[in-house]
Symmetry: C3
């Protein structure tokens, strides 16, 4: 048995139907029945496979799959094909098709705690050991796995999935079709203290977190509530695991944040930005739309739209590549420099002697 997420629909489709699903073009027998998708190595009889890029097309030769999703411009190949401009996207869509599960909402388990004045939509699944604080609202078809905690006056939109042990603190707003992976905390207090001599006095964090539609946040992340106003994760943002987002940060639409990134307070990240793994971003700056920041970089000042930066502190990626290459030659450079200095002295002495003579 191949492992998979629980009970699936055992969906089946013809090659032609899958081609329609992904907006591709069939080559060969469109009536061919297909019962699943798998990698080039693992696909077997009755399954379809895919090649994302033309440079991997030679690996097609050995596959035992009955059909393949391929780049539109692949040379002819003796198997039924679906040609498409974006095979990777087609793979995502076909995989999603075969992974469909029967929709069977569990309702509200009697071992969940539901506070006063809570509004719950239709066809929800609220598992045992879930806590929904008073005045919260849960949209239709939302799923709250065991150990989920919603504080008071939290809103969770239609079709959102909160995996086990997710915490959403008071008054925070989670949009529609949002996915929060296990252990993630939304709306913990921002890190704000005022000095009072040597000691620190806590600044009450009275703002909220707003997570818009179609956001996905990884496991064991932390998104702090605003000091005042809101921390704002806009539509379509996707984050990996263990990321930290400080109070009053804004993250723009369709921005991608890789694992272990930290963003300090009040920073504004634009739309379609990409932050590589373990990047750190200081507070109170702006990163423009479409910027890309390389893994482990440290961003200390505003970044213009479309810039590509690396390093800590970060500067333009191409310059950084050259500086890094030179860095590895530093000991040699130091030796040459010392040598030149010595030779320079000898020449100067030689010249000065000649001048004297």
């Amino acid at each position: 048995m191949k492992p998979g997420y629980g009970e699936r629909m055992k969906a089946q489709a013809t090659l032609g139907e899958l081609a329609v699903l992904v907006g591709g073009k069939v080559e060969g027998d469109g009536s061919l029945p297909i019962r699943g998708i798998a990698s080039l190595e693992e696909a077997g009889e009755g399954e379809i496979t895919f090649v994302a890029e033309i440079k991997h097309s030679r690996r097609l030769e050995k596959t035992r799959a009955s059909a393949a999703i391929v780049p539109a411009n692949l040379p002819s190949f003796p198997k039924p094909l679906i040609r498409t401009l974006n095979p990777y996207l087609a793979y995502a869509k076909v995989q999603a098709f075969f992974q469909q599960k029967p929709f069977s909402p569990r309702g509200v388990d009697s071992r969940a705690f539901i506070g006063g004045g809570v509004k719950i939509g239709r066809e929800v699944s609220i598992y045992p050991f879930v806590h929904v604080g008073k005045g919260s609202e849960i949209g239709d078809r939302a799923v709250l796995y065991p150990g989920v905690y919603l504080g008071e006056s939290v809103r969770v939109g239609e079709g959102s999935v909160l995996y086990p042990n997710v915490v959403v603190m008071d008054c925070c707003v989670v949009g529609k079709r949002v996915i929060l992976h296990p252990g993630t905390v939304i709306g913990s207090d921002g890190f704000g203290f005022a000095r009072d001599g040597a000691k620190f006095v806590k600044i009450p964090q009275v703002g909220i977190v707003v997570i818009e539609d179609d956001v996905e946040i990884g496991a064991n992340c932390a998104v702090d509530r605003a000091a005042m106003g809101k921390t704002w994760i806009k539509r379509g943002v996707k984050t990996d695991n263990l990321i930290q987002i400080g109070h009053n940060v804004t993250v723009g639409e369709d921005t991608v944040i890789v694992a272990q990134v930290g963003i300090a307070g009040s920073t504004e990240i634009g739309n379609r930005v990409a932050l590589g793994g373990q990047v750190g971003v200081v507070g109170h700056i702006k990163i423009g739309d479409g910027a890309m920041i390389g893994a482990q970089a440290g961003v200390g000042q505003d970044v213009a739209p479309g810039q590509i930066l690396s390093g800590s502190p970060a500067f333009p990626h191409r310059e950084w590549l050259r500086a890094q290459a030179a860095f590895q030659k530093l000991p040699e450079m130091k030796r040459i420099l010392a040598d030149l200095e010595k030779r320079m002295k000898q020449i100067e002495e030689a010249i000065s002697k000649k001048d004297e003579s």
Copy 2:
């Protein structure tokens, strides 16, 4: 409706009363009633706002607030004012005043698990799905949110708040007025193994964690128990989210630790130290009182009191700034060096020819 943490007291005060609260001086009508505090942009009629630094005082002109907390030396301004040396601290105090909630302990929920021999103080709040292991002690007015796990013989002091899904393992001690944000783990095993050929044998971690009074630890952090003895977080320490503190570490009073910092085993951090975001500190070293370590730095050896370091490995911040500036010029330096080498050779040849001639 403006969002805020649950039901508040709807506290109200006169400008004069707030001035007394913050130790400031009223300018204008001290009997003016104030019902809340908000930012310069968001404050309205009946609310007070604040300007933390004199350089932002021009932004006062547009506020619709009825009064303002300002630096003591602000030039005169046509609104009722509270003048103070530390407006940010005054803001913290006034915000806390307005955020006061009615104190309404929930008692011990019947869906919590309370082990044998547990001592519970007065006016506590123990929510559903909390586990309190046998022999533990919970101080007066402590709050344990859903999903909190206390092992055996844990002590939690008066007025401490453990947010949802916080874990405190056996025998650890949490002081008074401590705040542990959601998902944080106190007292997980330290990372200790002895080599036995190619394999590793676990070293039992039999020490504890002691967290003193007035400590605040962020969300999804991990503080390991000691191998023997204690991991020790002293009074007033404040940490951000996702930090890691290894076994037998000591963190001194009023030290501040920003998000995603990692401190390896047996290191001693002094009092009033500041560690920037994503800093790493190796084990078995000492960081002196008042030292400041810049974001993403890697500290590999002892740091004297008051030092300011950056870089990985870390060295004095000012020198690091200069080295970083030069680093970005490295490719140019390399080019100049190669050019000098060539010219040097030409000169040497020219001289040697002349000598021959």
Copy 3:
């Protein structure tokens, strides 16, 4: 009272018995009764202590312990001794002996949720508020602490311990004698999206995580399930807290991963590798057996077996040490370079003048 993990056995042994346990050689009275092990400073009458390395042997002089575990080649010392080639390993074994607890399985608490078709072995401990999804299997003597979530069709092997709030998602496999520290998430979705214009489409993550026997994973970690196939943590791997392992990663046997490391998707880590704290490893590369990567390094390409690397991007550790030393001298190098350039020009002018004259 010294703190320790709950109720212990109050085990006692003679010095000779302990020597047999650790494979060492007694010097002095082998019948001496020993009731515990403690550090050089804290050990007292009736306890044994240990010195891991000969350079610390002078600290033996002050200990009040009744006996000591020492390196085999320690010069003679006037106390009963156990001599051994690996005193640290002997300490681990003796500590484990004294920390033995009476084995008392709790059975399955009535407040746990056990889904349909679950198979549960003998002598397990399943605490309140645990969720075991349908079709899962729990081996003999396994311990599931409060707040543990197992999805559907999860397998947990004999003797494994899942600490509070650990999450293991659908179909993942946890071997025998595995320890998962609190808050750790196994089997969250891998970070996989296909671009569809400006937006991202989720790629279903249909693989699993396999954790082999004798693995220990720290607190608040995240190990993602594979896109297809498996994310694979092999026998004997030990990880610290807050680490991130991406989808389809393989980690080889007896590899050690220090806190806050991140490993991106599809990378293969060999056997007996050591990754220092906060290391980042890009996706789709191989790190050979026995390689060692220094703290905070960024590994961007394949690493040959046995290599020792540091830096971001990482290169051989010895060269990195020299480059780092030079880096700190960069401002001086820059000054010398400018000076040489000036002098070079003067010489060239002097020579050209002479040539003219």
